[in-house]
């Protein structure tokens, strides 16, 4: 371990202040849990980006699914979204009011049953939704893809010098497609040593002024990704503009169900028309997700907003930067 850190220090020696962003909640967890930020020289800053799908799911989508559930539509959802606050309540609260909402680990638990699947997640989680669609299931899709969001961040207020690129999104997407971003990137695994060697490799790219992609997770990630999964995704879903919580609308960054008969947004249009979303005042999840604000600098952090009483999605999800910082402290 010391060898990698020494190498990072020597690479960083003559560098101007450099910002590296990780865009996967799994990486954020490893970085905070193992105190990796503290091991780095002062001029190398790691910031967390929008790597938690629960955190970027729009409040409107949460409100819509709650509305469906309150109108007797049976919902199946991953456990992660149950406690995310909507305008009036959470999915958990709706369940308390008699709505049928089944918390699932895998969509295979509800195949061929009359549930609407509330599908969230990035490329890693999307092929399973495509599979469920191929089996005839109805879906409310809040799926998002990473590259357009990272592009939007690169043209935003924060200067990002490189990315630690998500390992399991890349398992599906492949290593080649990231070249589009034209910025130094290293696809990383999830062991603390792998994250450290990824940081070392990003600094090597930056010092050589190379805007390329290094695959530091070769045991899983192939250049072309998982072709079968990608094909199934594109057969069942199509690219649309999408709202990212706290960030706003990003063109062609979301995926919607192709077949109207299986697209809950179309099937239940009459119910969904009535949904009125009011964003919370004071919650600064958006700035946290863009890497502009550290969790501890949000006025609500640890005061009004705790894991027991979350105000924003970054505190709800176990992969949110606020929740992770709350759990491990700033180390």
């Amino acid at each position: 371990m010391k060898k990698i850190i020494d190498s990072i220090k020597s690479l960083a020696k003559n560098m101007p202040p450099t910002t590296i962003m990780e865009v996967c909640g799994g990486h954020t967890n490893v970085i905070v849990q193992y105190g990796i930020r503290n091991l780095l020289p002062e001029n190398i800053r790691l910031v967390s980006g929008p790597g938690c799908p629960v955190c970027v799911t729009s409040q409107h989508d949460i409100d819509c699914v709650i509305e469906l559930a309150l109108n007797k539509v049976k919902i199946a959802a991953y456990g992660d979204v149950m406690r995310v606050p909507g305008t009036r309540m959470t999915l958990d609260d709706a369940r308390g009011k008699g709505a049928i909402i089944k918390e699932i680990y895998s969509v295979t638990e509800v195949l061929e049953k009359d549930y609407v699947f509330f599908a969230i997640g990035f490329e890693t989680t999307t092929p399973m939704t495509a599979y469920a669609l191929s089996k005839g299931m109805s879906v409310y899709s809040s799926h998002k893809i990473m590259i357009p969001a990272m592009k939007a961040l690169l043209s935003g207020d924060l200067k990002i010098d490189g990315f630690i690129t998500p390992g399991h999104v890349s398992a599906i997407l492949g290593s080649r497609e990231w070249k589009l971003l034209n910025v130094p990137q290293v696809i990383s695994g999830f062991k603390p040593e792998q994250v450290l060697t990824s940081i070392e490799k990003i600094l090597q790219l930056i010092s050589r002024r190379k805007k390329s992609v290094v695959n530091n997770y070769e045991e899983v990630v192939r250049p072309e990704g998982n072709r079968k999964a990608k094909k199934m995704m594109m057969e069942q879903l199509k690219l649309v503009d999408s709202d990212w919580r706290g960030i706003g609308n990003i063109p062609l960054s979301g995926l919607e169900v192709r077949k109207p008969k299986q697209n809950a947004k179309k099937q239940y249009n009459e119910i969904l028309k009535k949904v009125n979303t009011k964003e919370f005042i004071g919650c600064r999840c958006g700035d946290v997700l863009k890497g502009l604000l550290e969790p501890e600098d949000c006025p609500l952090y640890k005061e009004a907003c705790t894991p027991a009483t979350p105000k924003g999605a970054c505190m709800v999800s176990a992969e949110g930067a606020c929740s992770i910082t709350y759990k491990y402290g700033k180390i």
Partner: protein, 68 residues
Amino acid sequence: MCLAIPGKVVSIKNELAVVDFKGIRKKVNIALVDIQKGDWVLVHVGFAIEKVDEIIAKQTYKLLEGII
């Protein structure tokens, strides 16, 4: 959310495989991958998402052990 865990394929029947995760065996959907019995796979929300290259994985971990 994108958490995925590696396991070894013990048996396959149609779209389902039994995968061994360090002694715990679970049924996993393999519709998204082309695999055989004995392969290592990465599993996410009940589906195998990719084959794990055992040789590269061993090299990586050996390499990492060497530098700790």
